[in-house]
């Protein structure tokens, strides 16, 4: 039990430091803070031109969505880079608890996602005049946390595919961009065709963004409880699928001696 806890916390932190490509300050600031800042500005100004929604719609949507940058790209790096860097075989040769190994590396990316999202809200307050009642902040923080965890679960699933696929970063990029379209980040689900909205409802982020928008508009956490629980359940489903794929590809890799072949 103690070993599993150590693998969860210490192993997770070490893997974050070793495998997260954007950890250097220069890279972190430009990619994890600069890019989300300009994404929020871009879509808010675009929204001002198209006049389909108010500023808060775009600010909340994008400030929550940017957490997915850490959750998806980071988590994919956290799993798939083991294979890219040639450390997958030694890692899987250890008797370490697989669940602790798998889930522990998610923790730093979740914390990272929260930082990025908080930064997004802060710069929106500073540059775009976005305001939020102080009493709404805890509820919003909880929603962002649940959403970030759910997105990290999706990142785990894609990362696990990276144990087998040749170019998993292509998939990570594609999923990240598609979430901008399908998850109601900049276009309300009501304005999307039915099939796109249906896909969006099956993805992490969608319900979290809806809940965050309602809380930012003054609703209480209780009012959006259903949305938050749905977001959490979607995240759980992706985490289970991700872990199942992780174990499947581990077993397949052992059987075929193809853990690190591309």
């Amino acid at each position: 039990m103690t070993a599993a806890v150590r693998v969860f916390f210490v192993g997770g932190l070490i893997s974050y430091r070793a495998l997260f490509n954007w950890l250097r300050p220069g890279m972190y600031v430009t990619t994890m803070l600069g890019s989300p800042l300009f994404q929020i500005l871009f879509f808010t100004y675009l929204g001002r031109f198209t006049r389909n929604e108010n500023d808060a719609f775009f600010i909340v949507g994008n400030a929550v969505q940017v957490a997915a940058m850490s959750s998806i790209y980071g988590m994919v790096m956290g799993i798939a880079n083991e294979r890219q860097f040639g450390t997958l075989s030694p890692l899987l040769a250890t008797p370490a608890n697989r669940l602790a190994l798998f889930l522990g590396r998610a923790l730093p990316y979740i914390a990272n996602g929260l930082v990025v999202s908080a930064f997004g809200f802060a710069v929106s307050w500073a540059l775009l005049g976005f305001s939020l009642d102080a009493g709404d902040v805890p509820a919003l923080a909880l929603i962002v946390l649940v959403t970030t965890v759910a997105c990290t679960a999706l990142g785990m699933l894609i990362g696990s595919i990276g144990l087998r696929a040749r170019d998993v970063f292509f998939a990570a990029n594609l999923v990240y961009f598609l979430m901008l379209l399908f998850c109601g980040v900049n276009v309300s689900l009501d304005d999307l065709p039915g099939w796109m909205a249906a896909i969006g409802r099956g993805l992490p982020l969608t319900h979290g963004i809806q809940a965050a928008r309602r809380v930012a508009a003054g609703a209480s956490l209780g009012d959006v409880g259903g949305l938050v629980v749905t977001e959490a359940l979607i995240g759980l489903a992706y985490a289970v699928a991700g872990y199942a794929l992780f174990r499947l590809f581990e077993g397949e890799g052992r059987r075929r001696a193809s853990l690190e072949t591309f």
Partner: protein, 255 residues
């Protein structure tokens, strides 16, 4: 020289076209952003602007492919171990690099074609171009000016170890300040000054004037040519400096 230039451009064009990453940023990403913008414009009920959006989203793709392709051009040559060979070759290094940066902007043409095709097929965007001849001139002028801007990026980013950090940072800001989807009149006044120094601003002006009418296409094409010449001159100076320093310090292959 012409053969070297053409062979280099064609080689890099084929090479980049085979890269999934460049397919993503020059085809899929612009189509996704165009779709977002189409839905936003539609739900905002702004009339007659879908071709405006398709062209803007297409140029966003040209900028992305130029930014990521040219920004990391020298770094990639380093990683692949070909930098020493091309620098040591008798041909001027500039003549080797310009075809590469032009190829990165040329594959951006996929994004214009992709967003127009996508817009026509799924959003009923009318493809009625007011001045087809002007458009036929504006497109290559824009691509060349962006390719030369790519040379400037390549020669500047090489000074920094993590060029991709700048590439990740600069994608959205240039989309924003060059008016590709958001009119500059909505942004603070000082942004206009920045936009004048950036080729995509004049490229989109030329392309939109040619496609949608309204005049000003030739002057915008002229500005693309002028900026392209400035980028080339600056890029040549920076590249010469980089080559000299790298030879002196023996740091050519160091990442």
């Amino acid at each position: 020289m012409v053969r070297l230039f053409y062979a280099g451009w064609l080689f890099h064009l084929k090479n980049l076209s085979n890269s999934l990453f460049f397919v993503l940023i020059s085809v899929l990403q612009p189509v996704i952003f165009a779709s977002i913008a189409f839905f936003m414009y539609r739900s905002g009920q702004r009339p007659g602007t879908l071709l405006y959006v398709a062209l803007g989203a297409g140029l966003m793709g040209i900028w992305s492919s130029t930014l990521f392709g040219s920004g990391g051009a020298i770094q990639w040559q380093r990683w692949q171990g070909t930098l020493e060979i091309v620098v040591a070759a008798p041909a001027p290094f500039l003549l080797v690099l310009v075809p590469l940066t032009l190829a990165t902007s040329t594959i951006g043409l996929y994004s214009i074609v992709g967003t127009l095709f996508w817009g026509r097929l799924f959003f009923g965007v009318p493809l009625d171009f007011v001045h087809p001849f002007q458009l036929a001139v504006a497109l290559p002028a824009t691509v060349i000016s962006l390719g030369l801007m790519g040379l400037l990026l390549a020669s500047t980013f090489v000074l920094y170890r993590q060029a991709s950090a700048f590439s990740n940072l600069l994608e959205y800001p240039v989309w924003l300040v060059t008016g590709l989807l958001v009119p500059l009149s909505l942004l603070p006044g000082w942004v206009t000054w920045i936009s004048w120094a950036l080729a995509p601003s004049w490229g989109i002006k030329a392309i939109r004037a040619a496609a949608l009418g309204g005049g000003g296409a030739w002057s915008a094409i002229g500005m693309c040519a002028l900026l392209g010449a400035v980028y080339l001159a600056l890029g040549a100076v920076f590249m010469k400096n980089f080559e000299r320093l790298a030879r002196q310090r023996a740091t050519l292959s160091l990442t």
